[in-house]
Each structure stands twice: as structure tokens, then as C-alpha cells.
């Protein structure tokens, strides 16, 4: 599961609605299916903790922090926790909806990769 999310440029592969991105150093610019572009700052990619942290820096989002933690819980099982904090409230709801869909897609890809039905 960590292999799926650890590379910043992989986000179009597992976040529904993000159709492309460019990565330049710690800056990632994502483009959505509606044609919107958002700049993001990548704060942490920790291969030991399996933690990916980023924040959206584009207007009109006043504050955003996205944290993906992948926690091994058994030899073939892991837990993915994808948390989002955002302001204004409306964007928290919108990004939260997208994040939930992303978690589903990460799970699906991980299961395909493992060739079984476990997470």
C-alpha cells in the first residue's frame, strides 16, 4: 500500500478526479477533471514511518493538511489512515469526499497487487 501512495507524482493513479500532476521539488501542482489546478506543498515523505504529508496552498483554501499513514498490522495486512483538515468548512467537506474515494481506490489497488481480498 505504501508503494502506491509514496511517490508524489502517482496521485492521478489513485485519487479519483485528479487527472494529472507535475512535481517540482517540494511543490506539486494537481489538475482535476474539471480543469481546476491546485498547488500543493509536500511536507513529509517518511519511508520509515510510511507517512506522506502535504498541504494545498491555492486560493480559496485557507488551510489544508493532508496526512496519509500506512501502518503494517500483519505480514499481509495494513491499515491506511488518510486524514484531511481544511478551512473553510465547505472545502473540508469537498476534500473529505474526495479523500474517502481515494481511500477506496488505494484499497482496491492494494488488493489487486496482493491478489487477494485482504487490505
Amino acid at each position: 500500500m505504501w508503494d502506491i501512495v509514496r511517490r508524489p507524482e502517482s496521485i492521478p493513479d489513485w485519487f479519483p478526479g485528479i487527472v494529472s500532476c507535475t512535481v517540482n521539488g517540494r511543490t506539486r501542482v494537481i489538475r482535476t477533471a474539471t480543469g481546476l489546478e491546485f498547488s500543493e506543498e509536500i511536507l513529509t515523505i517518511d519511508p520509515l514511518l510510511h507517512r506522506f504529508v502535504y498541504r494545498v496552498t491555492s486560493h480559496p483554501i485557507q488551510f489544508h493538511l493532508g496526512v496519509i499513514d500506512v501502518i503494517a498490522i500483519a505480514p499481509r495486512d495494513c491499515l491506511c489512515i488518510y486524514s484531511t483538515t481544511a478551512e473553510p468548512d465547505v472545502f473540508a467537506l469537498l476534500i473529505g469526499g474526495g479523500t474517502a474515494a481515494a481511500v477506496d481506490e488505494i484499497k482496491r489497488q492494494a488488493e489487486v497487487k496482493e491478489g487477494n481480498g485482504n487490505g
Partner: protein, 524 residues
């Protein structure tokens, strides 16, 4: 060759805005003629008083508690049944032009097809759920979308942004900097969601929807059957019709609505007689519907603001009527007149000053519940014109379309086809209709169930932020048509209340498979 179907919807239009229904503010000769030639329904009710659940009911023939799109911001499941799919399978060309709203508008990622179609390629983008049979989306072969403004990813916004960028700034900004529905006032009176819009009429979305419908009709072969859903975004707020047209209805000459109590004390007394979320909204202590601007306080609305909103609303209704007239002329020109059924309605109503309120929310009274519905059957059927006074529901539309097309009614459809007259309504037990409301947003949850008969309107509030589950409203439609006197706790109405409570319970117990409630991912 069978009967073709032109299904016309508007958004947030009151029953009394149509001349045939007694409206006097706007002139609606086209709708009036359709009503005179066909069937006019005096008590049509939505399944929900907000857009997404109500529109999903039109498409599925199911109540929100069945189709699962239980509030605005909850997408209708992609595998939900669709009457358009059945019509497509029956050989109909299928189109939806204008406002769909089966999926959330606010969708920054474009996860929903309605929002990504215009960017990714119109009208044949392939999505993960596309199986080559269901049309582009939900059974429609052709889709072109519009909504209330000029921002966002839909086709109309992209068209006007590309073709006429100089006028985009003239439209009202629907949301504010915090992405809440804008409370900013405009016009002459400072009414919320009002703006003088310097846009040529032919570039406004009402005429755009008619233009695109005409273009689609022109592309159909003479002998192809078709189902065309022409869906106008107006007269839903913002009220910003083309400035060239606003002189049609001078707001200073507009009478106040019959249900606008003219003094604050009158308004407060009436609201205090209802469940307590009414007064809480009026005072600015509670907003339970995202589309009512969070920073707007109804108690501060002036009588002149009510007049101006109603005037601009009437202008928008007239523009729609004229746009429908243009489409009907195209149909006549193609020689299809005798074989086209025309059905006109809207998704829910609007307060427009009733009780001192504006917009909508979990408030089940005629302002929001009583809708215009006109069915002009294909003249070749020689249907006798009639007026149906029995209660009917938008949940009946899907079965009606299938009946017109000569198709069987699938088991998933909950509403029977519309009655053609009161005798038909009586024979088929059209005696009550239900409306549902469920919302959970930003810490406020409200759950409402209502049943309406010819004589009564009965509402129960389920436990939530403002209600314990014991509150309700009961109105006698014969002696209190404005629904100002709540008889819920009146001992004289105890037996009526018991009967209506049982009707609601029966609605909850109705047979059939329910979809899992969808996930809230946006406020609208």
C-alpha cells in the same frame, strides 16, 4: 413510430407563478395553452423540497429513502435505476439539456460525470461505469449541462466564458469567499441573491437551454422517437435575469404575497405556532439548508425586498415561457405536433416572502410543496382536457413516461402513472402523497416526514438538532389554505391526526428494496 416526450422542468418554481394556476404576476401564455389543451394538476407534490433528491425521484420513480440520494450533496448511485435507460432500451433517443443535478455541483475534483463531461469531452466521454449500453450517462445519449450561474465546469459556463467572457462578471456571484451561498444584496432594494445583470437575453441560460434543445431536436430524424428533458435552471435564485427584461414587471407595482404577514409581530406569532426551527431560522439562529445564505437573516427582509424578488422571479418565469414557446414551434415545424407529449413541472417551490421567509428548507408547506404540473398528452391520443384536484407526486413521472412510450413499468418504480382526471385518480387511489426531508450538515441535522391529502397537510419531525421527535404540524387546507394555524395539538383534530400518522407510517412501511443511503460529499 410512437409518441415522443418533451419533459420540461424548471427549478424552484411556485404553483402560483403560472397563469393557468391563478398567477397574475407573470404572463405564461404558452403554459396556459398547454394546460387548456391537456391536464392541469392542482396539487402536485415533490418527494423532497430540495433539488437533488427531488430530481433523482423524477429519474428513478422512487422516493429519496428508496433511491438513496437523501439530501443535496449526496450523489444518486451510479447504478440507480433510470427511466431514461428504459426509454433508450425501447429505441428512444434520449437527451437531458440544462440542469441535471443528480450529482453534487460542488466537486472540485470532478469525480462526478456531470461535472467532468464538459472538460473531458462532450458528449461521449467514457467513464469507469460506462458499459456501452446506458448512453453517455444514466441512460441519456446526449447531455449538455447548465446551472444557475456562469462559474464552474458545466457546458453553459464554459460556453459563455469562451464566447462572451466580457459578461461573466455581470452575473450574480452565487457563493461568497468562504464558499457559502452568498448573502450579498443587490437590485434597488438590497435583496439577497439579486443583481441587475447586463447580459443580452440571448446569452442568458434560459435561452441557451432552449437553443441547445432546438439544436438537438433538429439533429433527430423525422421518424425517431425521442425523450428530451429540457431543464431550465431558473427561476431558482440568484434572481439576475437580463436587465433588458426587468421592466416587464416593475417591482414597485408588485403586490405583497397573500401569505406575507405585514408586521413583525404577526410573522413571529405565526412562526411561533410551528415547530421551533421555523422561528430559529427567521431570527438568524439556525440555518438548516446550505442554499439559504448563512449570513442572511430573514427577519431583516423588507416588504420592498419581497416585492423586488417576486418581480424578478416573474420575469424569469416569463422568459422560460417564451423559451418553451420557441421549442414548441420547432416541434410543430418538424411536423411532430400530434405525436409529442409535453410534461411541464418543477422540482420544488420557494417561499418568496411567505411567512416573511425566502429560499427553502425543511419547512413543508404549500410554498415549497405545491408545484405546477401540466401534462399535454400527444394530440393524436385525443385526450379530453381536465383538471386533477387529487394529490399527485413527482414520483409518478417515470411511470408516466414509460406508459406514454408503451413500455411496462419496472418493479423498481414506486409511483403509479399520473391520473388523467379525478375519476381516474379516485379509481386508482390517488388520495395522499408523501414528502421526505433528511439533512445532516455542519452540525445540524433535521428529519421531516409529511403527508398531504386533499384536505390536510400533516408533518412529523423526527429527533434531530432542533426536535425531540414529538413535534409536528397539521394544517386544514379547507379553512386554512395559507397554513397559518397549526392544529397538531388541537384535540378537535385528534382523529384526523391519527389517520394521517398512520398514512405516514404506511409510507415508511411500503414494500420494496431500499438503496443504501448515499454518502454526503458536498453541501450541494
Amino acid at each position: 413510430m410512437g409518441r415522443k416526450i418533451l419533459f420540461i422542468t424548471t427549478d424552484q418554481q411556485r404553483y402560483d407563478t403560472v397563469g393557468a394556476n391563478g398567477g397574475t404576476l407573470s404572463r405564461t401564455p404558452v403554459l396556459d395553452r398547454l394546460a387548456a389543451e391537456g391536464i392541469r394538476y392542482e396539487r402536485c407534490q415533490p418527494t423532497s423540497v430540495v433539488c437533488m433528491p427531488s430530481r433523482a425521484s423524477m429519474l428513478t420513480g422512487q422516493f429519496p429513502s428508496t433511491h438513496g440520494a437523501w439530501m443535496n450533496g449526496v450523489a444518486l448511485a451510479i447504478d440507480a435505476p433510470s427511466v431514461a435507460e428504459n426509454l433508450k432500451d425501447a429505441g428512444y433517443a434520449t437527451a437531458l439539456i440544462g440542469k441535471a443535478h443528480f450529482e453534487p455541483f460542488m466537486d472540485v475534483f470532478g469525480r462526478f460525470a456531470e461535472n467532468s463531461l464538459a472538460s473531458l469531452g462532450v458528449p461521449t466521454v467514457e467513464q469507469p461505469w460506462f458499459d456501452g449500453r446506458r448512453g453517455v450517462h444514466r441512460g441519456f445519449d446526449y447531455l449538455e449541462f447548465a446551472t444557475h450561474g456562469v462559474m464552474g465546469p458545466l457546458h453553459y459556463a464554459k460556453w459563455i466564458g469562451a464566447q462572451h467572457p466580457e459578461v461573466v462578471k455581470n452575473f450574480y456571484e452565487v457563493v461568497d469567499h468562504d464558499y457559502n451561498v452568498n448573502a450579498a444584496g443587490g437590485g434597488d432594494t438590497g435583496a439577497p441573491q439579486v443583481k441587475f445583470n447586463d447580459v443580452p437575453r440571448e446569452w442568458y441560460h434560459t435561452d441557451w437551454v432552449a437553443d441547445r434543445t432546438i439544436a438537438w431536436l433538429d439533429a433527430q430524424s423525422d421518424d425517431r422517437d425521442w425523450f428530451c428533458w429540457m431543464s431550465f435552471p431558473d427561476p431558482h435564485h440568484p434572481w439576475d435575469p437580463p436587465i433588458s427584461e426587468i421592466g416587464r414587471v416593475p417591482w414597485r407595482e408588485v403586490p405583497l404575497p397573500a401569505n406575507y404577514p405585514t408586521t413583525a409581530s404577526q410573522r413571529e406569532a405565526i412562526l411561533d405556532d410551528k415547530a421551533r426551527h421555523w422561528r430559529a431560522w427567521y431570527d438568524g439562529r439556525l440555518v438548516s439548508n446550505y442554499e439559504a445564505p448563512a449570513k442572511w437573516i430573514p427577519a431583516k427582509m423588507t416588504a420592498d425586498q419581497v416585492r423586488e424578488v417576486n418581480a424578478l422571479n416573474a420575469v424569469e418565469v416569463e422568459l422560460i415561457d417564451e423559451a418553451i414557446g420557441r421549442v414548441l414551434r420547432t416541434i410543430d415545424h418538424r411536423g411532430w405536433h400530434d405525436d409529442v407529449d409535453v410534461i411541464f413541472t418543477t422540482d420544488h417551490g420557494e417561499f418568496q416572502g411567505d411567512f416573511g421567509l425566502l429560499f427553502k428548507g425543511p419547512y413543508h408547506v404549500d410554498s415549497l410543496l405545491r408545484l405546477p404540473l401540466i401534462w399535454r398528452p400527444a394530440p393524436s391520443t385525443a385526450t379530453v382536457p381536465s383538471v386533477v384536484s387529487a394529490p399527485v407526486s413527482l414520483v409518478s413521472l417515470a411511470a408516466t413516461f414509460l406508459q406514454v412510450a408503451g413500455q411496462p413499468t419496472p418493479a423498481w418504480v414506486e409511483g403509479a402513472a399520473l391520473p388523467v382526471d379525478d375519476a381516474d385518480a379516485m379509481n386508482r387511489s390517488f388520495d395522499a402523497t408523501a414528502t421526505e426531508w433528511d439533512s445532516v450538515l455542519f452540525g445540524v441535522d433535521v428529519h421531516v416526514r409529511t403527508v398531504v391529502t386533499k384536505k390536510h397537510l400533516y408533518t412529523e419531525y423526527r429527533p434531530g438538532t432542533m426536535h425531540t421527535g414529538t413535534e409536528g404540524e397539521l394544517y386544514d387546507l379547507d379553512d386554512d389554505p395559507l397554513q397559518r394555524i397549526n392544529r397538531f395539538d388541537d384535540p378537535a383534530y385528534a382523529s384526523v391526526k391519527a389517520e394521517l400518522a398512520e398514512r405516514l407510517a404506511a409510507h415508511e412501511r411500503r414494500p420494496g428494496e431500499r438503496a443504501a443511503p448515499g454518502v454526503l460529499t458536498a453541501p450541494v
